[in-house]
Symmetry: C2
Subunit: 188 residues, 2 copies
């Protein structure tokens, strides 16, 4: 599948954003990386903000949709949690750079884009939380502080994009199996 010029720009920008953050990357940096001048970028995009919002909102939708779908299907809390972890890993592996922006640069979105992002983020978190609470209720999950469990798993998944480069030869399915085991059963 052939990429539009705009998509190319977004991909290149994402890589730069990941290295130095949105604010530290100039339009001239992005242009240089594409071997064109900064002004030429504006033939394809409205501005710097559009690059960020394309990047962040697109992958945020993926997360929201997949959790929504898991929550609506049936299954025990643990089955759902496992599925959630696996889906998160899949998205991370395929959109590592975009996730960096989602994690670190979402606050530089403006206007409606920012509101939309926060809404999706909250919904995602709420879905996650409800699965954990369901697990505690059915006693599949130890009755610990649900917020501690939520935070612990979520922060591991959110930071996976950083670690995925060093993943090296570890195959995706092995990673899934190991991470599910560590996050759910612990290490002892």
């Amino acid at each position: 599948m052939k990429l539009t010029r705009k998509e190319e720009i977004v991909i290149v920008a994402a890589k730069l954003f990941k290295e130095k953050g949105y604010s530290a990357v100039s339009m001239r940096d992005i242009a240089q990386q594409m071997d064109i001048k900064a002004a030429s970028l504006y033939n394809h995009i409205k501005g710097k903000q559009e690059i960020l919002s394309s990047l962040v909102l697109h992958v945020a939708e993926k997360f929201t949709n997949s959790t929504q779908s898991i929550t609506s299907q049936d299954g025990t809390a643990l089955q759902r949690l496992k599925k959630l972890i696996e889906v998160h890993i899949d998205i991370t592996v395929h959109h590592a750079d975009a996730i960096a922006a989602l994690n670190n640069d979402w606050m530089h979105l403006d206007g409606q884009d920012l509101l939309d992002f926060i809404a999706m983020r909250d919904q995602y978190e709420e879905n996650f939380r409800s699965i954990i609470k369901q697990g505690i209720q059915t006693q599949q999950i130890k009755a610990k502080e649900p917020e501690v469990i939520l935070f612990s798993i979520l922060s591991t998944l959110r930071t996976l994009y950083l670690w995925n480069e060093k993943r090296g030869k570890l195959e995706v399915n092995v990673l899934k199996k190991e991470l599910v085991s560590v996050l759910i059963s612990g290490i002892v």
Copy 2:
């Protein structure tokens, strides 16, 4: 204990860096937050870079020293790991803003400061890794991929600064106990 003017600046800057990142915060932003003009900052600091390096290197040393100390004391791998988690929580609770900069803005350090930081970070990680490997060898820890375990625990601890605000009424000692339990024993 009375703070020097420089320390006040660093503290105020840290709070702003946490919100928007180092690059998106201007000297004028920092000055405004202190009710002075930007030029006045330079009576106390050499420049923006010095604010960042004071912030990051200071807390990085804390981490390095504490892991070093734990590694040199005796104890089983699990005892050490538990201690490591607890110390990490203590430092996070007391230096949340600085840790934000350490996590997100370290790449904007320059020259020797950057090299020093990377050295400390690598050493910290290596100490952590050796404890986990020791645990696997003595069979206190399940023989999973050590890198997966390392990553999982470390990313939870590193993101704790974000979550600590929402910690709310959860007392520090409760947090320690819960988090140690979740990270080591899992949730089932």
